[in-house]
Amino acid sequence: MKTVKLIKIDVDKCNGCRACESICSAFHAAPKYSSTNPERSRIRVLFDPLKNIYVPVIAGEYTEAECNGRNIYTINEMEYDECSFCRASCPSRDLFKEPDSGLPLKCDMCEEKSPEEEPLCVQWCINDALTYEEKEEEGEEEEKPREMEVGLESLVKKYGAKTVRDTLARITKG
């Protein structure tokens, strides 16, 4: 059995305040809480007030390719671009990328926090647009890639292993 961590998102309760972004970026600053910058947050609220779109999206996998074509969803007579619900860090938009390095960001469910605590975005959403649940599922626990691995992997995919190795060797020399 493995534990699946769930952040449930109720878009009807989201008021678009972005407290989740603020606390997420602060937590992931180094040293912890030493700065705030929503651009570094692994959760972003995609919103368009006049279209009543308020969707907190939590950073998922990095992908090197854009989607082939796009889809439009119509929900309650409102049109949503598929990207409104997509979690990927991808080339088609500047979401979920470190602002200075461009490296992809991915939610770690606040990995370093003690396991019994809820992720911080959930704790800071006192309107309960975000709630947390753990559930048991069939299957094995997997080793999850660490944050740096996610970043390096994306660089390897983009530039090739050799270039990354050479560059690393050059900049760490001396």
Binding site: G16, A26, S34, S35, T36, N37, I126
Partner: protein
């Protein structure tokens, strides 16, 4: 490294088309914090009193509060300052929303604008890249549409846009700066922006905002959030629902409007309708509101839901975002029972960019002039017969400055004098030339007398707060209230709590209770907390305005210190607020404000006590360290490190002139006599009894 602030201001000269980045002086942060405090300092230093509001030398300053953009809940406010075309004093207006945090993330604390652009332009601040761009295609566009068009043409949906509408372009004296769900509306700063040829400022930022002592700071932020949750679960008992919680009044979610509709005046600040709120009205209005409100919304990093997206299919209007009391101002000004009208006209008014407080009052004033034959069909051709339609008619005229609209666009005070023919008599709700909240009560209230008279902000909601509006009815409720009243300043606990415990007893009637020394302390506390918020950019709705807020004089010094690295305790913070308060006053004094201007309208309360009012004012001025003209004395200024102000006053002969023009008690008496005469002439229109 600078903490909580970026340490960089943008200096824009629209006459020259120049853009410069200037490092700000960290000592000014120590002295004034930021926001309103440092804005005042810049205006004092760089805008001499001869500068007219529509001079290229008038500065228009957009400032993020010191803590805006940090993780402190509700720290999101933009403080906009300039010389006001309406009051001719320092105008500042404060808006929430998302603009200030974005400015910080772009790497700036303030945008300081001088000069005038020959053509309409907008400013695009994209981090380090700053451009002045043509806005001729945005001329006349509504505020919401402008913001949308700018985001589209920049291909930057996350850009935050502060913009004027048509009213700002036409320099309406009460034009606002709109930001989607928030607006900076007071003092006509939208007109100053229009005069500068600046349609909008769009901003986008991706930089870090640093915190000096992260662990301490985030611990305090967590406590604040927990207290908000606690207050949500424990509304204050014994007060009307609209006052029981946090935020600016939660008028988008709360349906019970008995307090506003029955306490505030309708029409041109004329009539109280004490029996307005019936079960039937409650039912009808709830239905309209539930239909109109599509979603409750917040400002940056705040769980309160003071705003709403309004979508009203039956009205067929484009959507807009509304907040707070604007739901009622037009309805009550137009003397209509139709809440739908309120939603409809507010959308239009916001599109044009006009102040939701002043505008309905100007229109109600015009309606009264028409009904009394001062304005006629000549000035108001085709004037509809129904008040609601009249308001739509007047809104168009004012925003376009068409016909009589060109006069009304200057606000009640100036319009009354331009129209003449006795129109001045109908200007009975302005202080320092600005329309006030229409609340005319029975018995003089010394606490409010001082705040209405001497507040630099000329706007009671930016001065008052923390105190219940009426005594608690039972001993039990009073004791419950003081039981966890942690917000009271150190050293004042016993007196302030006793005030609550005694208030409502037999011998505690206004106006001679509470004693003046307690009155002054209560006023100073309320006002000081606002001055702190206006510098930090923390929303008054979580701090200085509601009863029992999560931010208070005990946690704010720690919060500011841990965020900025400055070493500030309760006393020091109080002193900074005092310094800012006196500097603001100094700007206005230098611009000619004197004791004669510091007086609520004659009918503000039905029962007035002229001699007592003189005494209140004399003693309050003394308490504040001001002379009898309300001018801060040399000792007061020098004690706050404002010796450059006292020197300037001495050079200009401000003190000498002050001594000559002492207001005599006699003059107040004669004013009082005049009022009595007016009152008998007007009879019924003086409002109902309290």
């Amino acid at each position: 490294m600078r903490y909580a602030e970026t340490g960089v201001n943008l200096e824009i000269d629209l006459s020259r088309g120049s853009i410069e980045r200037e490092a700000s002086d960290p000592r000014l942060t120590e002295l004034h914090l930021g926001g309103l405090g440092t804005n005042a300092r810049i205006l004092w230093d760089r805008v001499p009193p001869e500068v007219e509001p529509f001079s290229p030398d008038n500065l228009l300053i957009f400032s993020a509060g010191l803590l805006a953009g940090t993780s402190a809940t509700g720290a999101n406010r933009t403080i906009v300052s300039a010389v006001s075309p309406q009051t001719l004093l320092m105008a500042y207006s404060i808006m929430g929303g998302f603009w200030a945090p974005e400015l910080k993330f772009a790497g700036y604390d303030k945008v300081i604008i001088r000069g005038k652009s020959p053509n309409l332009v907008y400013l695009w601040i994209n981090g380090d890249k700053v451009e002045i761009r043509d806005a001729s295609h945005l001329q006349g566009k509504s505020s919401l549409e402008t913001a949308e068009l700018i985001r589209q043409e920049l291909k930057e949906p996350k850009a935050q846009v502060a913009t004027i509408g048509l009213a700002g372009e036409n320099k309406v004296y009460f034009a606002s700066i709109e930001q989607g769900r928030s607006s900076a509306s007071r003092g006509g700063i939208g007109a100053v922006m229009g005069d500068k040829g600046l349609k909008a400022i769009a901003v986008r930022g991706k930089k870090d905002l640093n915190i000096a002592r992260p662990d301490e700071f985030i611990g305090l932020c967590n406590e604040v959030l927990q207290y908000i949750q606690f207050r949500r679960d424990n509304p204050v008992r014994g007060v009307p629902p609209i006052l029981a919680g946090l935020g600016s009044p939660q008028e988008m979610s709360i349906h019970d409007e008995e307090w506003h509709t029955t306490s505030f005046s309708w029409g041109n600040a004329r009539y109280r309708r004490k029996d307005f709120w019936t079960k039937e009205t409650a039912k009808k209005w709830s239905k309209v509101q539930d239909k109109a409100v599509e979603r409750l919304i917040s400002c940056y990093n705040c769980p309160m839901e003071c705003g709403a997206v309004i979508a009203h299919p039956s009205l067929g209007l484009p959507k807009f975002m509304m907040k707070c009391y604007s739901k009622l101002t037009y309805v009550m000004g137009a003397m209509t029972d139709n809440l739908e009208f309120g939603f409809k006209i507010t959308g239009d008014a916001q599109g044009y960019g006009v102040d939701g407080y002043t505008t309905p009052q100007v229109m109600a004033f015009a309606v009264e002039l028409y009904e009394n034959g001062i304005l006629t069909d000549k000035e108001l051709p085709g004037f509809p017969s129904k008040n609601e339609n009249r308001f739509f008619y007047l809104l168009e005229k004012i925003a376009r400055r068409e016909g009589i609209g060109d006069v009304l666009a200057n606000g009640v005070y100036w319009a009354a004098r331009q129209i003449g023919k006795g129109a001045e008599e109908y200007d009975h709700n302005t202080i320092k030339k600005q329309e006030q909240i229409p609340i005319k009560l029975g018995m003089l209230n010394p606490i409010y007398y001082i705040m209405w008279s001497t507040g630099e902000k000329v706007n009671i909601t930016q001065i008052e707060g923390q105190l219940p509006q009426a005594p608690f009815l039972t001993k039990m409720l009073r004791e419950e209230f003081v039981g966890d009243w942690i917000q009271v300043p150190t050293g004042k606990e016993e007196r302030f709590k006793r005030f609550i415990l005694e208030w409502g007893d037999k011998d505690t009637g206004l106006p001679f209770w509470p004693p003046l020394d307690l009155v002054f302390d209560l006023v100073e506390w309320q006002e000081t907390m606002h001055y702190i918020d206006d510098a930090t950019g923390i929303c008054a709705g979580l701090s200085s305005f509601p009863i029992k807020p999560p931010y208070h004089i005990h946690n704010l010094p720690k919060l500011i210190s841990s965020a900025t690295g400055l070493d500030i305790d309760e006393d020091k913070l109080w002193e900074i607020a005092k310094r800012n308060r006196n500097l603001l006053r100094a700007i206005n004094i230098r611009r000619g404000m004197r004791r004669k201007d510091e007086r609520p309208p004659e009918d503000h309360w039905r029962k007035r006590f002229p001699e007592f009012e003189v005494k209140i004012q004399d003693e309050y001025y003394k308490f504040k360290g001001w002379n009898n003209e309300g001018i801060p004395t040399k000792e007061t200024l020098d004690g706050l490190g404002l010796d450059y102000v006292s020197q300037d006053f001495e050079q200009r002969g401000v003190y000498k002139e002050g001594k000559v023009k002492v207001t005599k008690q006699d003059s107040l008496k004669s004013e009082k006599a005049k009022v009595a005469k007016k009152g008998s002439k007007k009879g019924k229109s003086q409002g109902s009894k309290q």
